[in-house]
Symmetry: C5
Subunit: 86 residues, 5 copies
């Protein structure tokens, strides 16, 4: 799993049915590279989160039929930009 | 999931049966690296899309027997080259 | 899926039974990095192909019991080195 | 599988139910890049470990319903920073 | 699949039960980056091998319950350092 920071929401009205109505977040890694994750946790921008990839992402979304390859698995209790980039 | 831009269509007449007649698009990331995705959404060149990889790609293609590892999951409503590369 | 070029055949006489007698090809990407793919299509060196990775590779090989993580999915009709590297 | 070193524990109180109460560790590779792994082995910071990714990570966690994509598979008996970085 | 060279054995006495007694090898790619693979073939250091990743690795290990993400699939008959790095 990776440590990423929630950057913003993402709106994709025209989507495949298998993504359902799931909330999508843009997440960034310590280098600033962006990815998109399903958020079953309820995060806000700035939260440091752990993200789950590959087939586990579908199960972590709460319904394995959700066709995501990246899902937010939790909010990290104690983390900071310094610890992240070091 | 990644944020990519549709670059062009891709024609591969001689293909494995498990890709069926699915529409293929060349998609590029913010660095210009190219990949090929199945498009169940109906995109046009220039659209910014979210792409789904690993086993979820097969399910997102609308039929899990389609042997793709990358499928377009939706068209992003508000995105721009500036936001992408920043 | 990725766009790769067939570089050569690969011979591995001593192999796991689950790769069976499948034809193996060395494929290269636009940077010259090499990988090995199962070829159910029948390619020749120089062909530009789309390659399928992860669990879809096994299904694309024509028999999901073939333990490959990369399979050639089709020959691209119109491609060139210029378009690839640009 | 990769060779990584346990850097620290990671606390994520607010997490998806599918990660259960599993112990999480921050692990680093030889370049210092960080990832998060489920630890069914019982490691301490400084241990060199092998980490298992993709769908095998769920099974290695001792319960395939645990939605992890990275799990510590064992502690390496003889390893050193010199051997790692060379 | 990738082309890697067997560098050495790896001993991990304290491991998850799902790796069983399987032989582990440190393998390196042409850049010298190290990974760990299950070896069902019986390789010796210096052998150039093809390695299988993702879910196919478990099946290639001879028992899909073995929780590996990388398995040696065969020994390449004709390969050399020159061909590898070129």
């Amino acid at each position: 799993m990776n440590i990423q920071r929630v950057a913003s929401d993402l709106v994709a009205t025209h989507r495949v049915a298998s993504l359902a109505e799931k909330s999508l977040r843009v997440v960034e890694d310590y280098k600033g590279d962006l990815e998109v994750a399903v958020d079953p946790v309820g995060c806000k921008p700035g939260d440091f989160v752990i993200t789950i990839s590959t087939s586990a992402a579908r199960h972590a979304a709460g319904d394995y039929r959700i066709t995501t390859d990246l899902t937010i698995g939790g909010i990290i209790d104690h983390w900071s930009e310094e610890r992240w980039r070091d």
